[in-house]
């Protein structure tokens, strides 16, 4: 969603990032991505639960099809594809290898578009690690809400 910040602002909205790791890591996250948007932490994950976000080992790891695809990409394919697969695995492995530091490894996220009166114009709950909504859907929800 970071690349869509300008489009989000053009709709009079703000991108708010919420994570469940310690706020020191959130600061590093902000600096690494050069984000100038509100960032919060929810270390108890109460808001994750209240909004229905999923959590669990099996959900985070994904189906066996996901792993087959990843192994096939590692064995064959172009170098860029292998690098992407390795980076994706690392993205999953770091919080598992260093539990409690950068966040709960098994907590999945999601995206909501919430209007000032509390109505939810869009809701996307991730079902596996790396599952993100198409930014075009989020922007379309903002567009529709503005009408």
């Amino acid at each position: 969603m970071r690349r869509e910040i300008d489009a989000i602002h053009a709709h009079g909205a703000e991108l708010v990032v919420i994570g469940n790791g310690h706020r020191h890591f959130a600061r590093v996250f902000r600096e690494d991505l050069q984000l100038d948007t509100p960032i919060y932490v929810d270390t108890t994950r109460a808001s994750y639960r209240a909004l229905g976000m999923k959590r669990g080992l099996a959900r985070t790891l994904g189906s066996w099809r996901t792993w087959v695809k990843m192994l096939r990409a590692l064995r064959g394919g172009v170098r860029q594809k292998r690098v992407r697969v390795i980076l994706r695995w690392w993205y999953w492995a770091v919080p598992v290898l260093l539990p409690g530091t950068q966040g709960d490894a098994w907590q999945l996220g999601g995206v909501l578009v919430v209007l000032p009166d509390g109505r939810v114009a869009y809701r996307y709950l991730s079902t596996v690690a790396g599952d993100h909504p198409p930014p075009s859907e989020v922007l379309a929800a903002l567009e529709a809400a503005a009408r």
Binding site: M1, I8, H11, G12, A13, E14, L15, V16, V17, I18, G19, N20, G21, R23, F25, A26, R27, V28, F29, R30, P38, I39, Y40, V41, D42, T43, T44, A46, S47, A50, L51, M53, T60, Y91, V94, P95, L98, T101, Q102, G103, D104, A105, Q107, L108, G109, G110, V111, L112, V113, V114, L115, P116, G118, R119, V120, A121, S126, V138, L142, A145
Partner: protein, 41 residues
């Protein structure tokens, strides 16, 4: 259109300076795209 539940709206989140806020403050006054991430790493 559904609404954020009262329970969710009142959950506590913490800004990078350590100040506590209620989740509902994040959409006060303008629409908010809430991007919940798995972790910061």
């Amino acid at each position: 259109m559904e609404r954020v539940s009262e329970g969710a709206a009142h959950t506590q989140i913490t800004d990078l300076d350590g100040r506590e806020h209620e989740l509902k403050e994040s959409w006060a006054g303008r629409p908010a795209v809430l991007a919940y991430v798995r972790h910061f790493g």
